[in-house]
Amino acid sequence: MAAAMANSGERAVLEEEFKWLLQEEVHAVLRQLQDILREASHRFALPTTASGGADKQENFVLSMSGTDQVKGMLTLQGDALCQADVNLKMPKNNQLLHFAFREDKQWKLQQIQDARNHVNQAIYLLVNRDVNYQFKTGLEVLKLMDAVMLQLSRARNRLTTPATLTLPEIASSGLTKMFTPALPPDILVNFYINLNKLCLTVYQLHVLQPSTTKNFKPAGGSVLHNPGAMFEFGSQRYEVSHVHKVECVVPWLNDALVFFTVSLQLCQQLKDKISVFSSYWNYRPY
């Protein structure tokens, strides 16, 4: 930078500015960051330990416009799906199937739990750097920002990147055992979060006869499998015949994602500001 050419007067001014940055500006940014993250954390409605049952429940209707082949009524409580009703109209005979969660069961949405935990970790990193804490080097700020950004980008990634599962993994997950009446063996369901949306996929399967001439090729892991994907489960071979995906926007997830993005940018800006002065780190007056 021009800093190299600066004469001693300019240098003194810049050093003064860097001091200001460390003592004032950093704290201002951290304050702001903390506020945003707390706001984000509230969205996740951390179940307070004392009043466990007091979490508010939200209902979501998952459906696709135009068709009523699959319809889901889901109740979300914090990070858990506490109720789920799935209506499925079989394409062949227009028979209507209905499944619901058993009363005693809840399905934990791991993505939400992880995102919530990551945000709280980020907040915890910031908590003990309040106004009283004096940053002495720019490096210290960079390290802190790196740690915070790591947690934040993980929180965001957790929501934006649903797990890629193979069909046998879906079939063997506990989810299939949670319904009453029990899911027929030719139906698989999966819940996940994709960005700000709560998604439900229903796979209809048909059994591949051993005599079939079809080339059996097991499908790999994927967020959403396509019709025709094949897999083997419990010594039986299946092929996906129909895939139904319905989704519904969860407003507070959207908020949370916006908060994540904003705070990540804030962190990066602070890092950039610090690095502008990187040539002064060695001349640190204190």
Binding site: N117, N128, K143, S153, R154, A163
Partner: protein
């Protein structure tokens, strides 16, 4: 399998930054282990009087270390496991600094506990891990495979902290854990061993929600076997383990945050905070005084005040006894830990590591007391240390690689090297400095001038060039030609803090062109990959304002400067045919630029961006945040076994942590070394200062040396060849073999290890038969005389210099200096092995990506103890002992070694060097695997090879003079976890002493050394398994050999039983090896039968 590569670190004035994120003390209280945010592990020596000195730094991780834990029963194997942010796990041997096992799992651990139940568990035990995933994972301590999970039936969440409860009273090992939401869970361990091994679901026995969020530590009091300490950031609490009723709570004061705690003794606790304070409390316990009625009482109080802790709080209340404090220089966060040892000579030690890299140690008295007036008493700091302290203390060791140049250049003093690049083809080292100067020097000569003493001549004549162009720090350098021929070999690029990229002519030092970018310091210069479609001399330049400039070197043109990126650039793809520049940023967004107009065409985030990024995955420039930047092309993932949950299913809905995070999966790529000598510039994260690692390829050097030897002799007759061999080898049998094969084609030494070991075997046989050997020796001397005349011929090979200089440099670095002044002088005068200027930081690269380097100040205190001489560069005291053992063990061979007796030989020097080298290389080969099973098999394999040699007819030539005792000894050292470098140094010292001794007027050295040996009969021990094979092979070989060797073999076989008896007593861990060995034996029989 690659052998390890010896390395010598040349540090700069500043220590590599080490922001401590994890700290532990080993069970023997000799070593402090710290892990850093930069990803290195540091080993610190803790003396018995509690002084700290830095010992070794271990490279291998590519991300911040999250936790450390012991990975074996420490008395048996000094292993420590480390885990990082990106899921890497490594098991290290903390005495040798070697990486034993590594893996990459899709889990991030924040705490690991080692659990081993000796009588009911097979294998090496478990690592119980918790972290950023639900519940607890069980990982095999040996293989690092995920074995199983401890799952929760309700409110499963991440686990924050845990402890293993082992109590004689309860008769059950349990794991107590507290989740992030403050739910305390207890899993049975010992009673669920079977179900875990059978992979049945193991759920918690107990689950109780505590009133604490952000729990930091949970500890069970083993003294009362009753109390449970739970430390959360806001308060600490004591619970009754029987019914989990709250006994007392203490909130933290003054804006502090508690960070952890430990039980000191019955009713005595130590709690520490995030900012480095600690407090020792005495629990004043009314109920304890009541003895047995306590239980009744607590039950009573509970019934009186159900679900209320208030009354109980009055029953037990804490009293602050003493405290420790940090006054100045705080840098958050402190990572603290406590080591509680009741046995002498161990201490109760509280220790902390800081982000600044400082370690602080408090010796907590056995019975802490408050001052007389009842106010708490401060416990003073016992020891305080940082890496930098040693760098300051040992100036000479921490001198930068080109400091001597800068000094002579101007009175300004030394400039810190801020970036550097080594060009192997030209042997040029280019160093960019803090002050904007760029130095170009010759690599090997610079290294010699830096390390060796009395080379002021060399130093003054050191050719170098200074390029003046940058006005401030040179941030990056690139020599594009070395990986891609389309660049002109004279081009050297440098980027500076002043946002200028200069293209230099490396030979003349002229500025060819200067690009002024005006966008902050240049962060990185990247050359396009080789398989790039367009054959243009294009270089990518990333600036610290996250802009990307495309520079066309030939046209001297900046094609495009893309400046809108908000986040650091991670990936770049430039395609002039498609007319696009695709830039992927750290936040997973993608910018697509049109190159012609320079406009931003598209900006994508989310799924689309991910798709685009994955499409350009391995085709383009990757901005590496690598630790050691040389390795940008290396694919480390190949080495570390990526273990995904394919073999293992996580309890509730398996998920892969498929985050596309910035992972710099690159460390060191030793495969890129073509030359026997390489300088690897290295840099840790955060620091500007570079340090350099000199790498020596032993195998290659040995090969080169031997081929040079042969070049020297090649013009000569068979007879000459023969005598040379005679000179080197020594035994009667060798002679026979040589005679037999005299007319066979010349087989160069690189022919393989088989030969090597073959000759060892020969030696071993002869060793046992003294008379035969002596007559052999006699004959040899006669032959020597005849060969002398021919050897006098001068060698006119210039190439020799580089190789020998390199070899001698390494030998200089390996030798301990000052053990015996006379030997030192003889070495310098006759062998051309020059004295070191100061002790060196020796290191080893193993597994291709793991590097251990000694730090300045290792063992420096107890090195200058030997007599009145000042000894330096002695790796450990043990070396002297080892070397004398070695001398004694190979005593039989002494007389017949190639004598450097004849001072005037032109080649003698080279030959001796080569001899030393082959020894070192042999040791390196033998000990290349960490001790244990692999080793055993390795040696058996080599024996097998040897045996193949025997049965095979050819192969007379072998460069090695190893012997069976040597093999045995090294194997034995291996078991005693002697470091490779220690072994190398010991052997080298012994060999030097031996070969130099004829040169001295008086022989003084060997007697005292031999005495040391007498007291110890143990070193003869050899792993029994191997011996059996050896014996077997000998028996077999007997059948195949002529009479003379026959007798020798029989003698040796008779010898063995004695040693077996000696062996019997030790080797506890070997029994399980037998199966493997048997298998080998069978193999051998089959093969031999052919």
């Amino acid at each position: 399998m690659k052998t390890s590569v010896p390395a010598v670190a040349v540090w700069g004035k500043t220590a590599p930054s080490h922001s401590i994120t994890a700290v532990m003390i080993t069970d023997d209280q000799h070593t402090i282990v710290t892990g850093s945010q930069e990803g290195q592990i540091c080993l610190w020596d803790l003396s018995t009087d509690l002084r700290i000195s830095s010992k070794e730094i271990l490279f291998g991780h590519t991300a911040s270390v999250t936790c450390l834990a012991k990975a074996r029963e420490f008395e048996k194997q000094p292993y420590v496991v480390s885990a990082t942010e990106n899921g890497e796990m490594c098991v290290w041997n903390v005495t040798s600094g070697q990486c034993i096992e590594n893996a990459k799992l899709p889990y991030r651990h924040t705490a690991i506990h080692y659990y081993h139940c000796s009588f009911r568990m097979t294998g090496e035990g478990w690592l119980l891990c918790c972290g950023e995933y639900q519940d607890v994972l069980i990982i095999d301590a040996k293989t690092l495979d995920v074995l199983h999970t401890l799952s929760s039936s309700q409110s499963s969440d991440w686990i924050n902290c845990m402890c293993i409860v082992h109590s004689a009273r309860i008769q059950e090992d349990s794991l107590v854990a507290v989740s992030v939401t403050g739910v305390l869970k207890v899993w049975d361990l010992s009673s669920s061993l079977n179900s875990i091994q059978e992979r049945q679901t193991v759920c918690e026995k107990e689950s109780k929600s505590l009133d604490c969020i952000n729990c930091r530590a949970v500890r069970f009091c083993t003294y009362t076997e009753r109390l449970l300490l739970v430390v959360s950031s806001m308060c600490w609490q004591v619970y009754d383990y029987c019914d989990f009723s709250l006994l007392c709570t203490e909130f933290c004061k003054g804006g502090q945050c508690f960070a952890g705690g430990e039980v000191l003794a019955a009713y005595r606790l130590i709690i520490w905070t995030e900012d480095g304070h600690s407090y020792i409390y005495q629990l004043l316990n009314r109920w304890a005084q009541m003895g047995n009625s306590r239980k009744k009482f607590s039950g009573l109080s509970k019934s009186m005040h159900p679900a209320d802790g208030k009354v109980l709080k009055e029953t037990v209340y804490p009293h602050l006894l003493s405290f420790t404090a940090m006054k100045e220089n705080k840098s958050l966060p402190f990572v603290m830990s406590f080591m509680n040892e009741r046995k002498e000579p161990f201490y109760k030690v509280l220790f902390s590591g800081e982000a600044s890299g400082r370690i602080t140690l408090w010796h907590v008295p056995d019975v802490p007391v408050s001052t007389f007036d009842g106010s708490p008493k401060e416990i003073p700091i016992t020891a305080l240390w940082t890496l930098q302290d040693h760098f300051d203390k040992h100036h000479s060791m921490s001198e930068g690689i080109i400091d001597q140049l800068c000094g002579s250049e101007d009175g300004f003093g030394s400039a810190v090297v801020s970036s550097s690049v080594y060009i192997p083809d030209l042997d040029k080292l280019v160093c960019g400095c803090e002050n904007g100067k760029i130095f170009i020097t010759v690599g090997l000569k610079t290294a010699r001038a830096r390390l060796l003493e009395k080379i002021s001549l060399l130093r003054d004549n050191l050719p170098y060039m200074v390029l003046n162009g940058h006005s401030s720090r040179v941030t990056c350098l690139l020599y594009p030609h070395d990986k891609s021929v389309r660049f002109d070999p004279s081009w050297l690029l440098s980027g500076g803090q002043d946002s200028v990229v200069i293209c230099w002519d490396i030979f003349t030092g002229d500025i060819l062109h200067q690009f002024n970018l005006q966008s902050g310091p240049v962060a990185e210069l990247l050359r396009s990959p080789e398989h790039y479609r367009v054959n243009q001399s294009i270089v990518c330049c990333v600036c610290s304002d996250h802009s990307v400039a495309i520079l066309h070197l030939h046209k001297r043109l900046c094609l495009l400067h893309a400046r809108k990126h908000l986040f650091p650039v991670k990936k770049i793809k430039f395609d002039p045919l498609e007319n696009v520049l695709i830039v992927g940023c750290e936040d997973n967004s993608v910018y697509i630029w049109e190159t012609e107009t320079g406009t931003l065409e598209r900006y994508e985030t989310g799924e689309t961006a991910r798709a685009i990024l994955s499409a350009i995955e391995d085709s383009e420039y990757l901005v590496a945040d690598a630790l050691l930047p040389v390795s940008q092309e290396s694919k480390r993932s190949k080495n570390s076994r990526d273990k995904h949950s394919s073999s293992y299913k996580h309890g509730t809905g398996p998920y892969h942590l498929a985050h596309t995070e910035k992972s710099s999966d690159k460390l060191i790529d030793t495969s890129c070394i073509q030359q026997p000598f390489t300088i690897l510039p290295a840099k840790t994260k955060w620091t500007n200062a570079n340090f350099h690692i000199l790498l020596f390829d032993l195998e290659k050097l040995e090969e080169l040396l031997s081929s040079q030897l042969h070049v020297l002799k090649s013009s000569k007759s068979f007879h000459n060849q023969y005598t040379l061999e005679r000179a080197k080898s020594t035994s009667e049998k060798r002679a026979l073999t040589l005679k037999r094969n005299k007319t066979a084609a010349f087989i160069p030494s690189q022919d393989g290890q088989a030969d090597t070991v073959c000759s060892d075997q020969v030696h071993g046989d002869n060793n046992a038969t003294r008379p035969v050997e002596e007559s052999g020796g006699m004959k040899r001397q006669k032959k020597m005389k005849s060969s002398r005349k021919i050897r006098m011929q001068p060698s006119g090979n210039i190439d020799v210099n580089i190789t020998t200089d390199t070899a001698k440099l390494l030998l200089s670095c390996l030798l301990p200096w000052g053990v015996d002044k006379e030997i030192d002088n003889l070495c310098v005068r006759h062998l051309g092995i020059l004295r070191l200027q100061c002790p060196v930081s020796f290191g080893l690269v193993s597994n291709e990506s793991h590097l251990s380097l000694m730090l300045p100040g290792w063992k420096c205190t107890d090195c200058d103890v030997l007599g009145e001489h000042e000894v330096f560069n002695l790796f450990s005291k043990r070396v002297l002992d080892l070397s004398s053992k070695y001398l004694a063990a190979t005593e039989g061979n002494t007389g017949k070694k190639d004598g450097p007796e004849n001072d005037d030989y032109g080649t003698r020097d080279l030959e001796t060097t080569f001899f030393f080298f082959s020894r070192i290389a042999l040791i390196n080969r033998i000990t290349k695997t960490p001790s244990g099973v692999t080793d055993e098999i390795e040696s058996i394999l080599s024996v097998y090879k040897l045996c193949m040699c025997f049965s095979g007819k050819s192969k007379y030539h072998s460069p090695d003079f190893g012997s069976i005792p040597l093999l045995k000894l090294i194997c034995c050292w291996n078991d005693q976890s002697v470091k490779i470098i220690e072994a190398m140094q010991a052997v080298l010292l012994a060999e030097v002493q031996r070969s130099v001794s004829p040169l001295r007027k008086t022989t003084t050295c060997r007697e005292p050394l031999a005495i040391v040996e007498n007291g110890n009969g143990k070193f003869w021990t050899l792993p029994k398994t191997e011996k059996r094979v050896l014996q077997y092979i000998k028996n077999v070989s007997v059948l195949k050999h002529d009479k003379s060797s026959n007798s020798a073999n029989f003698q040796d076989v008779e010898d063995t039983p004695d040693r077996c008896v000696l062996e019997e007593s030790e080797s506890p861990g070997e029994r399980h090896l037998n199966t493997a060995t048997k298998y080998q034996v069978i193999n051998l029989t089959q093969l031999l039968g052919l």
